[in-house]
Amino acid sequence: MREPHPLLAVDDLSIDMTVARGTVRILDGVSFSLASGETLGVVGESGSGKTMTALAIMRLLPQPSARLGAESRILFSGKNVLKLDERAMRRLRGREISMIFQDPMTALNPLFTVGEQIAETVRWHEGGTRAAAQARAVDMLRAVRIPHPERAVRSYPHQFSGGMRQRATIAIALACRPKILIADEPTTALDVTVQAQIFDLLEDIQEETGTAIILISHNLSTIARLTRRIMVLYGGRKVEEGPTREIIRNPRHPYTEALLRCVPGLRSEAEHDAELPEIPGTVPAPEELGGGCPFAPRCSHAAARCRSTMPPAAALGEKHKVACWLHEAAQSAVT
């Protein structure tokens, strides 16, 4: 069964950024959708446009340097959020769509207790009494498995460990039970055991509340566990999208394939002495992108056409899409 509108539909999203040398297109025609209760993984190398995509949805792009392309639309339950005035947007942010950032300290105010920060978010969006908001703060800290929540609400951020701080930002982000949670590299700065705790926590919360999650990372293996569907960005373009398992087992874009091979630590002992597969070179800066495939300079399959013309998205099966000239034959149902 299909909902009349997906919870979120990002349509032809492009972002131009003013830099010293003029204007560069840092995101180019990215489209995707998110159903309620779903978890979508967004993978891509540093600079590929993951954070900018998230900030565009939150309407928090750096101003005035970032401009959206004219055709860009971001539909939340069918309504274009790009058309909302700032007041309506403030109501949406935190209440309907929340975001957690890579560095938990930037999201926490060092001058207020963790409890005050959760309570403030709740009262801003929902009103209610101070006592009710305070009680919600305790509940939220318990929900994110912070020990002794009654005591922890009175702590300041610096009194928390890195893992506890990230859990506190999750508590703030979830305090108003948003429909969408965008998590931008939420565990990159944390230890594996804490990472595992945070991922379990996100899974539990999703099961309990049905919040849809967009999980952003540069490491495919960290998000493979939590997602059913993945979108791969490269150089501001969507290069592949599809079911997680299919992409892990049978990546079709040369970049996705290379990215999967270079994850450290997955090889057998027998392969240990050989070089770790690597992707030569680096992601091109936006101003270095020509009209061709952004991966062409590093791609071992690149032909003349790859360098001159951007390949359109080809559908491989019902849900798997790839933008690569190698899969031209498959181009039928193009979106």
Binding site: E45, D191, Q195, A196, N219, P264, G265, L276, T282
Partner: protein, 344 residues
């Protein structure tokens, strides 16, 4: 067992930091037990990995070895030379043989210096070669780490994170060091760039016989880089083993939890994971029993009252009451204790 003498031996290393804010003037002076009795050896040309969670004391071990912080007690022996009692001037001269690479390639490079100068600086400090030879060496280093000669005139901010780490590596190996301490050298980098830097470090090791102490909290990275691995928890080594042993037969419950938390690629692979409950101890007020007991799924009463010691069987060592004695050959354990005593 590898023959020969270790290039680096660390024995009973302790580094405690005073806590600056005393609640009351007359309160007992408090300390953080950042490193609290650490022993290990590294054979020449090999790589020892040091893993453990944030705050477990990995960086403090690195800084203590290089005397960039003052250890409270213990021994650090490099190529037969006791470093901790070495006069300042001799330590300074020895530094050309022991170098360090840090996690953050940006803050470890002077933003106002051209990167060619940055790489050349250690050669100047240690007066290695003539002016011309130093320039040649810098050219050679840029080649080795995969940077172009023309880039020598640029400033650090004009490079990507991975390129900056290449510059830091070039600087670290400029003086032909024997030991390079790598403190999270790839943690700030993207997976794709991580692979490039891991390959570079491994190639340099093969070519120049470098010995590495390699610190990371990422077990995947450690697996690619290291011959053997020591796992730290709150200032102590709880397990040490050759790479294959550690990954295939982890004995300590903390190591088991660490390994089971490593993300697997295939989402079908839902092996039961050991998720840690409970809170880590306060590093200022550590429990008298096992430091892992508050989070350990295996803990019994004895764990809370008595601290387990590191027992060694063959090349595998572990500090846990619950690892059955049967696994430990009494003779090997005694031998190990004797060598320890002999060195301290």
């Amino acid at each position: 067992m590898s023959a020969g003498k270790p290039l680096l031996s660390v024995r009973a290393l302790r580094t405690h930091f005073p806590v600056s804010h005393r609640a009351r003037l007359w309160a007992k002076r408090q300390v953080v037990h950042a490193v609290d009795g650490v022993d290990f050896d590294i054979m020449p040309g090999r790589t020892l990995g040091l893993v453990g969670e944030s705050g477990s004391g990995k960086s403090t071990v690195a800084l203590s070895i290089l005397r960039l912080v003052r250890p409270t007690a213990g021994k650090v022996v490099f190529d037969g030379i006791g470093l901790l009692s070495l006069p300042q001037e001799e330590m300074r001269r020895l530094r050309r043989r022991l170098q360090i690479i840090f996690q953050d390639p940006y803050s470890s490079l002077n933003p106002r210096e051209r990167v060619g100068e940055i790489v050349r600086r250690p050669l100047d400090i240690h007066s290695i070669g003539s002016a011309r030879e130093r320039s040649q060496r810098v050219d050679e280093l840029f080649d080795l780490v995969g940077l172009r000669q023309a880039q020598q005139d640029l400033f650090p901010h004009q490079f990507s994170g991975g390129q900056r780490q290449r510059i830091a590596i070039a600087r670290a190996i400029a003086t032909f060091p024997e030991l390079v301490v790598c403190d999270e050298p790839v943690s700030a980098l993207d997976v794709a760039i991580q692979a490039q830097i891991i390959n570079l470090l491994r190639r340099l090791q093969r070519e120049f016989g470098l010995t590495y102490l390699f610190i990371s909290h990422d077990l995947g990275v450690v697996r690619e880089m290291c011959d053997s691995i020591a796992v730290m928890y709150f200032g102590q080594i709880v397990e040490e083993a050759p790479r294959r042993d550690l990954f295939e037969r982890p004995l300590h419950p903390y190591t088991q939890a660490l390994l089971s938390a490593v993300p697997k690629l295939d989402s079908d692979d839902r092996a039961p994971r050991l998720v840690l409950e409970g809170d880590p101890p306060n590093p200022i007020d550590l429990p008298k029993g096992c430091r892992f007991a508050s989070r350990c799924p295996m803990a019994v009463a004895r764990c809370r009252s008595e601290a387990p010691v590191l027992r060694r069987f063959g090349s595998h060592a572990v500090a846990c009451h619950r690892v059955p004695d049967a696994e430990v050959s009494g003779e090997e354990a005694r031998e190990f204790e004797q060598t320890l005593r002999g060195l301290s």
